[in-house]
């Protein structure tokens, strides 16, 4: 039975790898986990262990060649009959991913963390051995702490997770800084739907997986509450209409409503600093700097680039920064720094006419503002009905640390700022 050896993905943003050296020749025996080849990417060299024991069959990718991740680079003839090994390393194939996933070939998918020691058995037995890797006590503790045991490395016999392993893991998680405190892991999935002939199974992209994990992790972490305010945007809309063409001519950059909302948020975040905080264990961390995350829709997902020190920019500087970040996001040219360190997020679910949505907090932040569609509506003003431009703003906040009264005062402040807009767009 031959198994494919795949080019591992050594990180989220890594799309390809170069084989620098084969450590075994065709026809040579290799044991499981023995270094098989070396790859190079971005000044990093990595030794890749063999996924199984066997004899190296055909080498399909020669030294010096660069191929996309998950490309088959060689085949190994398994020794002994371990049953169907199939395509070892294809962690992206949904039905197989839970049962086989060699350590290095699936880097970045976070699927196999801490499971190396338990892989010794044949893959068919893996699922049941997974259950046996921890005592009932440890499993109960894991459940209480909401921790996925597959993240915990076992040091006991056969890779069993001992109580000490678990406590050490807990401690480690507790001491990590806030953004890394809770590794994004979905809760145990419900029984998967049966796939018939008329169904098509498509593996999630890495981005989709990350989004899925983050969303579920956030829901589990924060006590989400959403408050919705209707804001009379007539004044801002008037300025927007009047100035748009001139602004774009003079400054060469598109004017949108987003910077107006962000300016209002900055003012209110300074008045209510708890909204610009994070939770770290039993500590509330107040951030003195405001770094604004802006959700940008991409084909097949979304990303949240961050305008760092957003409060230090004037309106024009803000418009330029947003424009530039959004453009880079769509061209997939964001750097790691561009998407890190946000302290609050704004998102725009109103593009297709949605009145408002209840956004999910971008961890480890405690608030996110969703901007609904901007439209004209009849509004009662001093017992008269007028046609005004309105928008619904929905703030989701973490009720663990933000009280409802504070959240609403914050939103009243945002509303007041926008309804009484006084800023010059060129200041």
């Amino acid at each position: 039975m031959a198994a494919d050896v795949l080019m591992p993905q050594m990180g989220e943003s890594v799309a390809e790898g170069t084989i620098t050296r084969w450590l075994k020749k065709e026809g040579e025996a290799v044991s499981k986990d023995e270094p098989l080849f070396e790859i190079s990417t971005e000044k990093v060299d990595a030794e890749i262990p063999s996924p199984i024991a066997g004899v190296l069959g055909k080498i399909l990718v020669k030294e010096g060649q660069t191929v996309a991740v998950h490309t088959v680079v060689a085949q190994i003839e398994a020794v002994g009959s371990l049953g169907s090994l199939g395509s070892v390393g294809s962690a992206e194939t949904p039905q197989k991913s839970a049962s086989k996933a060699p350590e290095s070939a699936t880097a970045g998918t976070e699927r196999t963390e801490g499971t190396d020691k338990s892989k010794a058995g044949a893959s068919a037995e893996k699922e049941s051995s997974e259950l046996l890797r921890a005592s009932p006590l440890v499993r109960r503790m894991a459940e209480e702490h909401g921790i996925d045991l597959s993240l915990v490395e076992g040091t006991g016999t056969g890779g069993r997770i001992t109580k000490e392993d678990f406590m050490a893991y807990l401690e480690r998680q507790g001491s990590a800084t806030a953004p890394k405190a809770a590794p994004p892991k979905p809760v145990p999935a419900p029984t998967p739907a049966k796939t018939g002939e008329r169904d098509e199974s498509v593996p999630m992209t890495i981005m989709r997986k990350r989004i899925a994990e983050h969303m579920v992790m956030s829901r589990r972490t924060s006590a989400h509450v959403t408050t919705v305010f209707q804001v009379d945007l007539s004044r801002v809309a008037e300025i927007y209409r009047k100035e748009k063409a001139g602004f774009e001519n003079q400054e060469g950059v598109k004017l949108t409503y987003t910077p107006f909302f962000i300016r209002a948020l900055i003012d209110s975040l300074k008045r209510f600093p708890i909204l610009n905080s994070s939770v770290n264990g039993d500590q509330i961390v107040y951030h003195k700097d405001i770094h604004m995350g802006i959700a940008v829709a991409l084909e097949g997902g979304l990303i949240v680039p961050v305008v760092h020190h957003v409060d230090e920019k004037n309106f024009l500087g803000l418009v330029r920064t947003i424009h530039e970040l959004a453009a880079r996001a769509r061209q997939k040219k964001l750097t790691v720094d561009d998407v890190q360190g946000g302290t609050f997020t704004i998102t725009n679910p109103g593009v297709y006419g949605g009145l408002f949505a209840t956004p999910i907090i971008n961890q480890p932040q405690v608030g996110i503002l969703g901007v609904g569609t901007i439209y004209k509506a009849p509004v009662v003003i001093q017992d008269a009905i007028a046609i005004r431009t309105v928008v619904h703003l929905a703030l989701s906040f973490d009720h663990r640390v933000v009280d409802g009264a504070v959240a609403d005062q914050f939103m009243a402040s945002v509303k007041k700022y926008l309804e009484g807009w006084e800023e010059s767009l060129w200041a």
Partner: protein, 199 residues
């Protein structure tokens, strides 16, 4: 040795900070033509040449350089080599900032740069997600040593040091403290957890 111990989980994540005698190392991807001097010239200059299993091309290590070898189990931190390279760069950039040097990244050229001159080089090896090798930061390095090589295989790549940027030498232990702090912070480890060993 320590790497093997880390793999067996016998030691915690570790950062070695040290200084090398003059030596030129050839990384896995090193091209011999990037070594400019003859073996005799190098011998006369007191420079040893060794081959290394780190990534990257040829580089020089010597007195006045702060060498950092983090031995970390990335499978417990984050399985992402690019992220790890960015973390090392970021820690050095922040350290530079603490010292009053404005350092940046150059897209496509891993390492840390000041005014288009390289101040820190990276070369990393990973096996089973345990890292070895690391970075070399020019603090008070005698930059004349670099005339023997084309650093990192980038022709016309000038090198610089904190000393050259600031016009005065820096206290090594102060820089080390900044570096450990930033690195620990970025990796999400306790400063004490990333215990230092000097040699």
């Amino acid at each position: 040795m320590l790497v093997e111990k880390r793999k067996r989980n016998e030691i915690a994540d570790t950062l070695l900070l040290l200084e090398h005698p003059p030596v030129i190392t050839m990384g896995r991807n090193a091209k011999p033509e990037n070594l400019l001097s003859t073996p005799l010239e190098l011998q006369q200059a007191g420079i040893e040449v060794v081959e290394s299993d780190r990534g990257g091309d040829v580089t020089f290590h010597g007195p006045g350089q702060l060498i950092g070898y983090p031995i970390l189990d990335l499978s417990k931190i984050r399985r992402d080599v690019v992220w790890y390279v960015r973390v090392l760069e970021e820690a050095i950039i922040r350290t530079a900032q603490d010292c009053g040097v404005r350092a940046v990244r150059v897209p496509g050229c891993p390492g840390v740069w000041v005014n288009n001159a390289k101040v820190a080089s990276l070369g990393i090896h990973i096996s089973r997600w345990v890292t070895s090798h690391g970075f070399a930061l020019n603090l008070n390095t005698d930059l004349n040593f670099f005339c023997h090589i084309i650093p990192c295989g980038i022709a016309s790549c000038p090198v610089t040091s904190f000393q050259q940027c600031l016009g005065k030498p820096l206290d090594r232990s102060v820089v080390e403290q900044h570096l450990v702090q930033h690195l620990a912070g970025l990796l999400g480890l306790e400063k004490g957890e990333l215990w230092q060993r000097m040699s």
